[in-house]
Protein backbone atom coordinates (compact mmCIF):
# COMPACT_ATOMS: atom_id res chain seq x y z
CA UNK A 1 0.00 0.00 0.00
CA UNK A 2 1.15 3.50 -0.81
CA UNK A 3 2.45 5.79 1.89
CA UNK A 4 -0.25 7.89 3.51
CA UNK A 5 -0.58 11.07 5.47
CA UNK A 6 -3.07 11.62 8.26
CA UNK A 7 -5.71 14.06 7.14
CA UNK A 8 -8.02 15.79 9.59
CA UNK A 9 -10.85 18.13 8.73
CA UNK A 10 -12.32 19.94 11.71
CA UNK A 11 -15.11 22.46 11.88
CA UNK A 12 -15.75 24.52 15.02
CA UNK A 13 -18.54 22.21 16.02
CA UNK A 14 -16.98 18.84 15.43
CA UNK A 15 -14.34 16.67 13.85
CA UNK A 16 -15.71 16.17 10.36
CA UNK A 17 -13.24 13.74 8.95
CA UNK A 18 -10.12 11.95 10.08
CA UNK A 19 -8.50 9.39 7.83
CA UNK A 20 -5.27 8.35 6.22
CA UNK A 21 -5.04 9.56 2.66
CA UNK A 22 -2.58 9.34 -0.19
CA UNK A 23 -3.08 12.90 -1.31
CA UNK A 24 -5.33 15.87 -0.61
CA UNK A 25 -5.71 18.97 -2.71
CA UNK A 26 -6.44 22.05 -0.62
CA UNK A 27 -7.69 25.47 -1.75
CA UNK A 28 -4.99 27.69 -0.26
CA UNK A 29 -5.43 31.44 -0.44
CA UNK A 30 -2.51 31.61 -2.89
CA UNK A 31 -3.84 28.78 -5.01
CA UNK A 32 -4.67 25.10 -4.81
CA UNK A 33 -1.93 22.87 -3.50
CA UNK A 34 -1.58 19.14 -3.11
CA UNK A 35 -0.36 17.51 0.08
CA UNK A 36 1.50 14.24 -0.17
CA UNK A 37 3.21 12.38 2.66
CA UNK A 38 6.38 14.11 3.87
CA UNK A 39 5.23 17.50 2.66
CA UNK A 40 7.30 20.30 4.14
CA UNK A 41 5.63 21.95 7.14
CA UNK A 42 3.47 24.91 6.29
CA UNK A 43 0.65 27.06 7.58
CA UNK A 44 -1.78 28.75 5.27
CA UNK A 45 -5.13 30.42 5.07
CA UNK A 46 -7.78 28.96 2.81
CA UNK A 47 -10.11 30.47 0.29
CA UNK A 48 -13.60 29.11 -0.25
CA UNK A 49 -13.12 26.08 -2.44
CA UNK A 50 -13.15 22.33 -2.69
CA UNK A 51 -10.91 19.88 -0.89
CA UNK A 52 -10.23 16.80 -3.00
CA UNK A 53 -9.17 13.58 -1.36
CA UNK A 54 -7.25 11.32 -3.70
CA UNK A 55 -6.77 7.64 -3.23
CA UNK A 56 -5.37 5.17 -5.69
CA UNK A 57 -5.03 7.83 -8.36
CA UNK A 58 -8.63 9.02 -8.32
CA UNK A 59 -10.72 11.42 -6.30
CA UNK A 60 -12.73 9.63 -3.63
CA UNK A 61 -14.18 12.57 -1.76
CA UNK A 62 -14.87 16.21 -2.50
CA UNK A 63 -15.70 18.59 0.30
CA UNK A 64 -16.51 22.26 0.04
CA UNK A 65 -14.99 24.52 2.68
CA UNK A 66 -15.89 28.15 3.19
CA UNK A 67 -12.41 29.23 4.13
CA UNK A 68 -10.29 28.55 7.16
CA UNK A 69 -6.74 27.45 7.84
CA UNK A 70 -4.54 24.50 7.05
CA UNK A 71 -1.57 23.17 8.92
CA UNK A 72 0.65 20.72 7.13
CA UNK A 73 3.45 18.76 8.72
CA UNK A 74 5.42 15.80 7.45
CA UNK A 75 3.00 13.19 8.68
CA UNK A 76 -0.21 15.09 9.17
CA UNK A 77 -2.47 17.64 7.56
CA UNK A 78 -5.05 19.50 9.62
CA UNK A 79 -7.66 21.72 8.05
CA UNK A 80 -9.62 24.10 10.25
CA UNK A 81 -12.65 24.82 8.14
CA UNK A 82 -15.27 27.43 8.84
CA UNK A 83 -17.95 25.29 7.32
CA UNK A 84 -17.57 21.97 5.58
CA UNK A 85 -20.11 20.42 3.25
CA UNK A 86 -19.53 17.35 1.08
CA UNK A 87 -20.04 18.54 -2.46
CA UNK A 88 -22.41 15.69 -3.20
CA UNK A 89 -24.76 16.99 -0.51
CA UNK A 90 -24.95 20.54 -1.85
CA UNK A 91 -28.51 21.26 -2.85
CA UNK A 92 -28.41 23.88 -5.59
CA UNK A 93 -32.00 25.08 -5.43
CA UNK A 94 -32.07 25.19 -1.61
CA UNK A 95 -28.83 27.15 -1.53
CA UNK A 96 -30.10 29.57 -4.14
CA UNK A 97 -33.16 30.17 -2.03
CA UNK A 98 -31.07 30.77 1.09
CA UNK A 99 -28.95 33.25 -0.84
CA UNK A 100 -31.94 35.27 -1.97
CA UNK A 101 -33.44 35.10 1.52
CA UNK A 102 -30.20 36.31 3.05
CA UNK A 103 -30.04 39.14 0.54
CA UNK A 104 -33.53 40.20 1.63
CA UNK A 105 -32.43 40.23 5.26
CA UNK A 106 -29.31 42.18 4.30
CA UNK A 107 -31.43 44.92 2.78
CA UNK A 108 -33.28 45.40 6.06
CA UNK A 109 -30.28 45.48 8.39
CA UNK A 110 -28.53 48.69 9.26
CA UNK A 111 -26.07 47.28 11.79
CA UNK A 112 -22.57 47.31 10.28
CA UNK A 113 -21.41 44.17 12.07
CA UNK A 114 -24.49 42.27 11.01
CA UNK A 115 -24.17 43.46 7.41
CA UNK A 116 -20.59 42.29 7.17
CA UNK A 117 -21.58 38.90 8.50
CA UNK A 118 -24.44 38.44 6.05
CA UNK A 119 -22.26 39.59 3.18
CA UNK A 120 -19.74 36.92 4.04
CA UNK A 121 -22.44 34.32 4.26
CA UNK A 122 -23.70 35.20 0.80
CA UNK A 123 -20.28 35.14 -0.82
CA UNK A 124 -19.55 31.80 0.81
CA UNK A 125 -22.73 30.26 -0.52
CA UNK A 126 -22.11 31.69 -3.96
CA UNK A 127 -18.65 30.14 -3.96
CA UNK A 128 -20.22 26.85 -2.96
CA UNK A 129 -22.67 27.01 -5.86
CA UNK A 130 -19.90 27.91 -8.28
CA UNK A 131 -17.90 24.91 -7.12
CA UNK A 132 -20.91 22.66 -7.49
CA UNK A 133 -21.63 23.88 -11.01
CA UNK A 134 -18.03 23.40 -12.04
CA UNK A 135 -18.14 19.76 -11.07
CA UNK A 136 -21.59 19.36 -12.53
Amino acid sequence: MAETTQFELVSPERLVLSRDVEMVVIPGSEGYFGVLPRHSPMLTTLMPGVIDIHEGGSIVDRIFVAGGFAEVTEDRCTVLAEGATPLAEVDVSATEKTISDTKEILKDTSDAVEQEKLQEKISNMEAMLAAKRLVG
Binding site: S11, P12, S29, L43, R76, L80
Partner: protein
Protein backbone atom coordinates in the same frame (compact mmCIF):
# COMPACT_ATOMS: atom_id res chain seq x y z
CA UNK B 1 -54.21 21.11 67.07
CA UNK B 2 -53.37 21.50 63.34
CA UNK B 3 -56.16 21.07 60.88
CA UNK B 4 -56.12 17.72 59.08
CA UNK B 5 -57.36 19.18 55.83
CA UNK B 6 -54.61 21.81 55.79
CA UNK B 7 -51.97 19.14 56.31
CA UNK B 8 -53.36 17.05 53.50
CA UNK B 9 -53.28 20.04 51.16
CA UNK B 10 -49.70 20.82 52.08
CA UNK B 11 -48.57 17.25 51.55
CA UNK B 12 -50.13 17.21 48.13
CA UNK B 13 -48.58 20.49 47.13
CA UNK B 14 -45.11 19.35 48.21
CA UNK B 15 -45.68 16.14 46.31
CA UNK B 16 -46.40 17.96 43.08
CA UNK B 17 -43.40 20.19 43.61
CA UNK B 18 -41.31 17.09 44.02
CA UNK B 19 -42.63 15.72 40.76
CA UNK B 20 -41.61 18.91 38.97
CA UNK B 21 -38.13 19.03 40.46
CA UNK B 22 -37.47 15.40 39.72
CA UNK B 23 -38.63 15.87 36.13
CA UNK B 24 -36.36 18.91 35.81
CA UNK B 25 -33.50 16.87 37.16
CA UNK B 26 -34.06 14.21 34.53
CA UNK B 27 -34.26 16.77 31.74
CA UNK B 28 -31.11 18.48 32.96
CA UNK B 29 -29.29 15.15 33.05
CA UNK B 30 -30.23 14.46 29.44
CA UNK B 31 -29.27 17.95 28.35
CA UNK B 32 -26.04 17.72 30.30
CA UNK B 33 -25.01 14.68 28.32
CA UNK B 34 -25.74 16.48 25.08
CA UNK B 35 -23.89 19.61 26.17
CA UNK B 36 -20.89 17.54 27.23
CA UNK B 37 -20.89 15.82 23.86
CA UNK B 38 -20.96 19.14 22.08
CA UNK B 39 -18.10 20.43 24.19
CA UNK B 40 -16.15 17.26 23.49
CA UNK B 41 -16.72 17.53 19.74
CA UNK B 42 -15.57 21.12 19.63
CA UNK B 43 -12.29 20.31 21.30
CA UNK B 44 -10.22 19.24 18.24
CA UNK B 45 -10.85 22.56 16.52
CA UNK B 46 -9.93 24.61 19.57
CA UNK B 47 -6.83 22.50 20.10
CA UNK B 48 -5.57 22.86 16.53
CA UNK B 49 -6.35 26.55 16.61
CA UNK B 50 -4.35 26.96 19.77
CA UNK B 51 -1.42 25.06 18.29
CA UNK B 52 -1.36 27.34 15.27
CA UNK B 53 -1.49 30.47 17.39
CA UNK B 54 1.36 29.23 19.55
CA UNK B 55 3.45 28.47 16.47
CA UNK B 56 2.77 31.81 14.89
CA UNK B 57 3.01 33.94 17.97
CA UNK B 58 6.43 32.51 18.71
CA UNK B 59 7.65 34.06 15.47
CA UNK B 60 6.24 37.51 16.09
CA UNK B 61 8.44 40.12 17.68
CA UNK B 62 6.81 41.16 20.97
CA UNK B 63 5.14 44.53 20.70
CA UNK B 64 4.61 44.30 16.97
CA UNK B 65 2.00 42.32 15.11
CA UNK B 66 -1.76 42.72 14.96
CA UNK B 67 -3.42 44.63 17.76
CA UNK B 68 -5.52 41.63 18.73
CA UNK B 69 -2.32 39.96 19.85
CA UNK B 70 -0.17 42.78 21.14
CA UNK B 71 -2.90 44.97 22.57
CA UNK B 72 -3.37 48.69 22.21
CA UNK B 73 -0.44 49.45 24.45
CA UNK B 74 -2.77 51.02 26.99
CA UNK B 75 -4.48 49.54 29.98
CA UNK B 76 -7.28 51.94 30.74
CA UNK B 77 -10.61 50.57 29.67
CA UNK B 78 -12.02 47.10 30.04
CA UNK B 79 -14.88 45.27 28.47
CA UNK B 80 -16.17 42.43 30.56
CA UNK B 81 -18.25 39.71 29.01
CA UNK B 82 -20.42 38.05 31.63
CA UNK B 83 -21.91 34.79 30.46
CA UNK B 84 -24.70 33.17 32.43
CA UNK B 85 -27.73 31.07 31.67
CA UNK B 86 -31.07 32.37 30.49
CA UNK B 87 -32.94 30.56 33.19
CA UNK B 88 -32.64 30.19 36.89
CA UNK B 89 -33.28 27.25 39.21
CA UNK B 90 -29.76 26.00 38.91
CA UNK B 91 -28.30 26.62 42.34
CA UNK B 92 -25.61 29.22 42.66
CA UNK B 93 -24.64 28.96 39.02
CA UNK B 94 -25.69 32.41 37.87
CA UNK B 95 -24.99 34.22 41.11
CA UNK B 96 -21.45 32.87 41.29
CA UNK B 97 -20.54 34.30 37.91
CA UNK B 98 -22.21 37.60 38.63
CA UNK B 99 -20.54 37.84 42.00
CA UNK B 100 -17.10 37.21 40.49
CA UNK B 101 -17.79 39.79 37.79
CA UNK B 102 -18.96 42.35 40.34
CA UNK B 103 -15.84 41.88 42.38
CA UNK B 104 -13.72 42.43 39.28
CA UNK B 105 -15.69 45.54 38.33
CA UNK B 106 -15.20 47.06 41.77
CA UNK B 107 -11.53 46.19 41.72
CA UNK B 108 -11.03 47.77 38.29
CA UNK B 109 -13.05 50.84 39.13
CA UNK B 110 -11.08 51.36 42.32
CA UNK B 111 -7.94 51.25 40.22
CA UNK B 112 -9.39 54.05 38.13
CA UNK B 113 -10.12 52.00 35.01
CA UNK B 114 -13.10 52.38 32.75
CA UNK B 115 -15.36 49.36 32.65
CA UNK B 116 -18.07 48.35 30.21
CA UNK B 117 -20.17 45.22 30.30
CA UNK B 118 -21.54 42.89 27.71
CA UNK B 119 -23.93 40.37 29.14
CA UNK B 120 -24.71 36.99 27.68
CA UNK B 121 -27.79 35.28 29.03
CA UNK B 122 -30.83 36.81 30.64
CA UNK B 123 -29.76 36.25 34.23
CA UNK B 124 -26.56 38.23 33.87
CA UNK B 125 -28.54 41.16 32.54
CA UNK B 126 -31.22 40.92 35.22
CA UNK B 127 -28.75 40.73 38.07
CA UNK B 128 -26.26 43.30 36.83
CA UNK B 129 -28.90 45.79 35.76
CA UNK B 130 -29.67 46.52 39.38
CA UNK B 131 -26.18 47.67 40.27
CA UNK B 132 -24.39 48.48 37.05
CA UNK B 133 -27.07 49.39 34.56
CA UNK B 134 -25.02 52.26 33.14
CA UNK B 135 -22.12 50.02 32.25
CA UNK B 136 -23.99 47.49 30.13
CA UNK B 137 -23.36 48.23 26.47
CA UNK B 138 -25.07 45.22 25.00
CA UNK B 139 -26.96 42.13 26.06
CA UNK B 140 -27.28 38.86 24.23
CA UNK B 141 -30.06 36.49 25.16
CA UNK B 142 -31.81 33.32 24.15
CA UNK B 143 -28.68 31.40 23.41
CA UNK B 144 -29.53 27.99 24.64
CA UNK B 145 -32.85 27.39 22.98
CA UNK B 146 -31.37 24.30 21.42
CA UNK B 147 -27.68 23.58 21.42
CA UNK B 148 -25.23 26.41 21.03
CA UNK B 149 -24.04 26.90 17.49
CA UNK B 150 -20.77 28.38 16.40
CA UNK B 151 -22.66 31.14 14.65
CA UNK B 152 -23.85 32.56 17.96
CA UNK B 153 -20.31 32.66 19.29
CA UNK B 154 -19.20 34.19 16.02
CA UNK B 155 -21.76 36.97 16.35
CA UNK B 156 -20.53 37.83 19.83
CA UNK B 157 -16.91 37.70 18.70
CA UNK B 158 -17.60 40.00 15.76
CA UNK B 159 -19.28 42.42 18.09
CA UNK B 160 -16.25 42.35 20.38
CA UNK B 161 -13.75 42.83 17.60
CA UNK B 162 -15.82 45.61 16.06
CA UNK B 163 -15.84 47.47 19.36
CA UNK B 164 -12.14 46.81 19.83
CA UNK B 165 -11.35 48.25 16.40
CA UNK B 166 -13.37 51.33 17.28
CA UNK B 167 -11.10 51.76 20.27
CA UNK B 168 -13.80 51.25 22.86
CA UNK B 169 -11.63 49.17 25.14
CA UNK B 170 -8.09 47.91 25.64
CA UNK B 171 -8.71 44.60 27.32
CA UNK B 172 -11.57 42.16 27.09
CA UNK B 173 -12.26 39.67 29.85
CA UNK B 174 -14.85 36.96 29.90
CA UNK B 175 -16.49 35.35 32.91
CA UNK B 176 -18.04 31.93 32.60
CA UNK B 177 -18.29 28.64 34.42
CA UNK B 178 -15.86 25.95 33.48
CA UNK B 179 -17.35 22.51 33.72
CA UNK B 180 -15.56 20.11 35.98
CA UNK B 181 -18.25 17.71 37.05
CA UNK B 182 -21.98 17.85 37.57
CA UNK B 183 -21.27 18.87 41.14
CA UNK B 184 -18.54 21.44 40.62
CA UNK B 185 -18.27 24.30 38.22
CA UNK B 186 -15.36 26.68 38.38
CA UNK B 187 -15.94 30.36 37.77
CA UNK B 188 -13.29 31.28 35.25
CA UNK B 189 -11.95 34.60 34.17
CA UNK B 190 -10.45 34.52 30.71
CA UNK B 191 -8.73 37.21 28.73
CA UNK B 192 -9.98 37.31 25.16
CA UNK B 193 -8.35 40.45 23.83
CA UNK B 194 -5.41 40.84 23.52
CA UNK B 195 -5.00 37.14 22.90
CA UNK B 196 -3.22 35.23 25.61
CA UNK B 197 -0.72 32.85 24.12
CA UNK B 198 -0.41 29.67 26.12
CA UNK B 199 3.05 28.67 27.25
CA UNK B 200 4.80 26.22 25.01
CA UNK B 201 6.89 24.58 27.68
CA UNK B 202 5.26 21.79 29.59
CA UNK B 203 3.31 20.78 26.52
CA UNK B 204 5.20 17.66 25.67
CA UNK B 205 2.78 15.85 23.41
CA UNK B 206 3.03 15.73 19.66
CA UNK B 207 1.57 19.19 19.21
CA UNK B 208 4.24 20.81 21.34
CA UNK B 209 7.05 19.14 19.46
CA UNK B 210 5.83 19.95 15.99
CA UNK B 211 5.19 23.56 16.96
CA UNK B 212 8.92 24.02 17.11
CA UNK B 213 9.36 22.81 13.55
CA UNK B 214 10.01 25.34 10.84
CA UNK B 215 6.95 26.25 8.89
CA UNK B 216 6.43 27.86 5.58
CA UNK B 217 3.76 30.50 5.64
CA UNK B 218 1.26 31.40 3.02
CA UNK B 219 0.59 34.31 2.53
CA UNK B 220 2.92 35.35 5.42
CA UNK B 221 2.93 35.25 9.20
CA UNK B 222 1.20 38.58 9.58
CA UNK B 223 -1.44 37.69 7.03
CA UNK B 224 -2.28 34.42 8.68
CA UNK B 225 -2.25 35.93 12.14
CA UNK B 226 -4.63 38.69 11.21
CA UNK B 227 -7.03 36.08 9.84
CA UNK B 228 -6.46 33.64 12.65
CA UNK B 229 -6.83 35.94 15.65
CA UNK B 230 -10.46 36.96 15.06
CA UNK B 231 -11.28 33.30 14.55
CA UNK B 232 -9.51 32.54 17.77
CA UNK B 233 -11.66 35.01 19.67
CA UNK B 234 -14.75 33.34 18.22
CA UNK B 235 -13.43 29.91 19.10
CA UNK B 236 -12.69 30.93 22.67
CA UNK B 237 -16.14 32.43 23.06
CA UNK B 238 -17.61 29.28 21.58
CA UNK B 239 -15.67 27.03 23.94
CA UNK B 240 -16.66 29.20 26.88
CA UNK B 241 -20.34 29.08 25.90
CA UNK B 242 -20.24 25.32 25.55
CA UNK B 243 -18.56 24.90 28.91
CA UNK B 244 -21.07 27.29 30.36
CA UNK B 245 -24.02 25.36 29.04
CA UNK B 246 -22.62 22.06 30.29
CA UNK B 247 -22.06 23.69 33.67
CA UNK B 248 -25.55 25.12 33.69
CA UNK B 249 -27.16 21.75 33.16
CA UNK B 250 -24.84 20.15 35.67
CA UNK B 251 -25.66 22.78 38.25
CA UNK B 252 -29.36 22.45 37.58
CA UNK B 253 -29.19 18.70 37.87
CA UNK B 254 -27.47 18.92 41.24
CA UNK B 255 -29.80 21.63 42.48
CA UNK B 256 -32.89 19.75 41.40
CA UNK B 257 -31.58 16.54 42.89
CA UNK B 258 -31.24 18.11 46.30
CA UNK B 259 -34.58 19.86 45.88
CA UNK B 260 -36.20 16.50 45.19
CA UNK B 261 -34.53 15.02 48.23
CA UNK B 262 -35.62 17.94 50.42
CA UNK B 263 -39.16 17.58 49.18
CA UNK B 264 -39.04 13.89 50.10
CA UNK B 265 -37.92 14.73 53.63
CA UNK B 266 -40.63 17.33 53.93
CA UNK B 267 -43.28 14.87 52.79
CA UNK B 268 -42.09 12.35 55.37
CA UNK B 269 -42.23 14.92 58.12
CA UNK B 270 -45.66 16.19 57.12
CA UNK B 271 -47.02 12.67 56.80
CA UNK B 272 -45.82 11.89 60.31
CA UNK B 273 -47.52 14.99 61.68
CA UNK B 274 -50.64 14.14 59.69
CA UNK B 275 -50.82 10.61 61.12
CA UNK B 276 -50.13 11.77 64.63
CA UNK B 277 -52.81 14.39 64.39
CA UNK B 278 -55.29 11.92 62.96
CA UNK B 279 -54.67 9.54 65.83
CA UNK B 280 -54.95 12.34 68.34
CA UNK B 281 -58.37 13.19 66.89
CA UNK B 282 -59.48 9.57 67.09
CA UNK B 283 -58.26 9.27 70.66
CA UNK B 284 -60.03 12.48 71.55
CA UNK B 285 -63.28 11.29 70.05
CA UNK B 286 -63.01 7.95 71.84
CA UNK B 287 -62.42 9.69 75.14
CA UNK B 288 -65.46 11.82 74.52
CA UNK B 289 -67.61 8.80 73.76
CA UNK B 290 -66.34 6.85 76.76
CA UNK B 291 -66.71 9.72 79.18
CA UNK B 292 -70.14 10.37 77.73
CA UNK B 293 -71.13 6.73 78.35
CA UNK B 294 -69.73 6.82 81.86
CA UNK B 295 -71.74 9.90 82.69
CA UNK B 296 -74.92 7.97 82.08
Amino acid sequence: MPNLKDLKVRINSVKSTQKITSAMKMVAAAKLRRAQDAAEQARPYAKSMERMIVTLAGNVVPGSGPKLLSGTGKDESYLIVVATADRGLCGGFNSNIVRAARRKITELENAGKKVALLTVGRKAKDQLRRTHSKLIVKSVENLARTTIGFEQADTIARELIHRFDEGEFDTCLMFYNRFQSAMTQIVTEQQLIPAKVPELSGDEDKGGASAKALYEYEPDEEGILSALLPRNVATQVFTALLENSASEHGARMTAMDSATRNAGEMIDKLTLTYNRTRQAYITKELIEIISGAEAL
